[in-house]
Symmetry: C2
């Protein structure tokens, strides 16, 4: 064993787990943070911003892109990455649901 038993869980559960997994690394949190501080959706100077090698950043960007947390558009030789607000909405809604269910609970 060792692999996750994803087939045992619902689509929604797997979907949320995938979103959280994409955000489960400090470098990827830092990338999201950085994309939020720059006013325009600046591209690969993320490599200059973070203490990781270019292939490593590229890999983290790919994971964020696969999870739909960011999207990238080609601009000449560069690629412009930015946050996907729809996915942020989806995560916020999930916590809204949790918050709602948590009302009138003990503990």
């Amino acid at each position: 064993m060792g692999a996750s038993k994803t087939e045992s869980f619902s689509f929604e559960q797997n979907e949320m787990a995938t979103l959280f997994k994409a955000l489960s690394h400090p470098a990827r949190i830092a990338i999201v943070d950085y994309l939020l501080t720059v006013d325009s959706c600046i591209c690969g100077d993320i490599v200059n911003e973070l203490p990781l090698a270019q292939p490593t950043i590229s890999q983290h960007l790919k994971e964020l892109k696969n999870a739909n947390i960011i999207k990238g558009t080609i601009e000449g030789t560069a690629i412009c990455y930015c946050i996907n607000p729809d996915t942020i909405d989806k995560i916020e809604n999930h916590f809204g649901m949790i918050r709602h269910k948590l009302k009138n609970k003990c503990c």
Copy 2:
């Protein structure tokens, strides 16, 4: 290589990454879901609810506990787990911040 370069990132970035990592597995999402559906904070019949062996559930519960997403109180031989609303708050605040910074952005 292979280990995360956690020391290269801020406390907050590591903290959020740790929270998301705790939620990055469908079984742990399912545990949180289940704890939200039961009215009282029911304990280890999570084992009966999920298609995973007892040691595996115990391990997942430990990770959720370490991340402060759930807390457990001893009740005789059983242990009663429930959601920690403070941690839910913390995550919601993080997305509140993202939402706020995302206002007036292009892409």
